[in-house]
Amino acid sequence: MTALDLPPGHFGPYGGRFVPEALTAALDELDAAFTDALADPAFGEELSELERTYTGRPNPLTPARRFSVECGGARVYLKREDLNHTGSHKINNVLGQALLTKRMGKERVIAETGAGQHGVATATAAALMGLECTVYMGEEDTRRQALNVARMRLLGAEVVPVTAGSRTLKDAINEAMRDWVTTVDRTHYLLGTVTGPAPFPRMVRHFHEVIGREAREQILAAEGRLPDAVVACVGGGSNAIGLFSAFLDDPDVLLRGYEAGGDGVETGRHASRFAAGSPGVLHGARTYVMQDEWGQTLPSHSISAGLDYPGVGPEHSWLHDTGRVVYEPVVDAEAMAAFEVLCRTEGIIPAIETAHALAGAMRLGRELGPDAVIIVNLSGRGDKDVATAAAWFGLGDAAPVGQQ
């Protein structure tokens, strides 16, 4: 089966729409609004203007000289999505979809969030554009990411802790879908990654392609050539697809995605859809899913809330099957080791999600050697993870100087 045999909205056999009929009209409306916006130069200009004056794009491609030493000497560059307003790549997609919400005449957005980065970005865009905002977040995640909960509330969003199921991102998505099906005439579901029913995967990818466009131009300016490898962490997979999109047609550029290995794939406590999942249907699309022999979704696990999801964007499933992108698990301990290395060599505290990509770069750099050029998507900053990291590294409160 090739992509051409299937209706639009598919990536090979993956993607499509598996949703309650009540959502069909809204997805058709969204598809039409997106198509219409793409053809309207004013939409592109408005988005570019926001990216420049609000997000702070273009963000730099930072040569990570001291970190490179830990990567077998390969020259590693960091695409600094952490320097965007709100601290991660998520804002790229959110601004695009918030503009579409206005175009569709809707006045309310809802979102799911795992680590809270997408929730914060959505709350930010809603405040900027005068939209009502409700964010669904698994109760477990509201504890892990308390700082982001406070940020969303400061921005005027309602945060709803979800107590169903495993109380993480998967259940937050279920709850957001239930809200949407009930309020769809006035609400847009501002989905935060390249998953879900068509047209979400294609649309969210489009809004993140700016990452790849900038990185390609920047690496050509810095090195005078394309990189040997481009790497990113993969939860739903939006930061990865955004960066990869500019290099998919360059067969000499290796593309690597790193998914959460949790306690280790062999323990069952992980979020490695490609290493241990199989094709199925979850949250509106056919894709790789962690599931049991009966098709029940298995709980995922990762130290990183943003990678703790049993499904993955359908385009990644296709890129996996075609071999264009290689996906590997990175366990919690390896990610946290890379987290510490980046803090100490570059003075940059990354998000724990991002630390999985950094661990991947350390592996790959040692494999490719000192002549290699590698771009890592530094998808988010780690302020939200300071408490988790402090607990991991056993950094208790230091005794104040001068006290006995």
């Binding site: 009929e21 009540a22 199921g165 899913v289 009966w294 029940q296």
Partner: protein, 266 residues
């Protein structure tokens, strides 16, 4: 051998009433008791039993059914258990269909599921998250075994969409009364009569209305314009709230009686 869906709807029509369709998840509240609960539902006057296949991510269901399927899954309600419940219901002479989200069917094997369901005496499947665009292999598998495929329409469905959905549907068309998830509501949405009237102009299939019906009076209202009335969460809630299995059975039977009076015009 139980009667086909077409026969049940035709007989109800001949009696000048709507058919009553009752939903309960297999394995709820326990594997053994679920068959008793269904029997009580039938004893009270349910014409067609919708056996729910418990799924981990029921995104079209409200809190009552979510709780019920979580309990069922914890109790080991696998697809094979569901098929066994269908077999027992069918052997008792009652018409049974399965209601399932798509992934468990695909995982079981589309052909294998259709084959086993037909062997168990089931008459069809309601698939709330399968769209006609994605249904090619399912249409082939069900057609080959004379199983009915029940798709849904919603108040937001355009006329063109209703025609498209109806063209792949058999047995009956499931009209979701409201924009929302399953769950008892104090009033049945005013969108339902309009949706049924529109659908009637576009298909000859019997039309059953679901989502939100929980009392005999509501069933009577819906029966005035639809060919079938579907009730699920209200049964589930009676079982969740009962102190003992005996009380649960009694409550289910009493609700079914009330609803059965309702579909006969009150």
């Amino acid at each position: 051998m139980s009667r086909s869906l077409a026969q049940v709807f035709a007989e109800a029509k001949a009696e000048g009433r709507a058919a009553l369709i009752g939903y309960l998840p297999a394995g709820f509240p326990t594997a053994e008791q679920s068959v008793d609960m269904i029997a009580a539902m039938v004893d009270g006057g349910v014409d067609i039993v919708e056996v729910g296949l418990p799924y981990s991510d029921p995104l079209m269901d409200g809190p009552d059914i979510q709780s019920a399927v979580e309990l069922a899954l914890r109790g080991g309600a696998t697809t094979d258990v569901v098929l066994d419940v269908v077999r027992q219901v069918s052997e008792s002479g009652t018409t049974a269909v399965v209601m399932s989200y798509w992934n468990p069917i695909e995982r079981y094997g589309i052909d294998r599921f259709a084959e086993r369901l037909a062997q168990a005496g089931g008459h069809g499947v309601i698939t709330p998250d399968l769209t006609p665009e994605e249904a090619g292999p399912w249409i082939a598998a069900t057609s080959a075994r004379d199983l009915d495929r029940i798709f849904l329409v919603a108040p937001s469905s355009t006329d063109a969409r209703i025609s498209q959905v109806s063209s792949v549907t058999s047995g009956f068309l499931y009209a979701a009364s409201t924009m929302g998830v399953t769950g008892a509501r104090t009033t049945v949405s005013s969108a339902a009569p309009e949706l049924v009237a529109r659908s009637r102009r576009l298909t000859k299939l019997p039309i059953a209305v679901g989502l939100g019906v929980s009392t005999g009076a509501q069933a009577a209202d819906v029966a005035a314009f639809a060919d079938g009335v579907i009730v699920g969460s209200a049964f589930v809630r009676r079982i969740l709230q009962a102190e003992t299995p005996a009380e649960a059975t009694e409550q289910v039977r009493a609700l079914a009686r009330d609803l059965a009076r309702g579909v006969r015009g009150g």
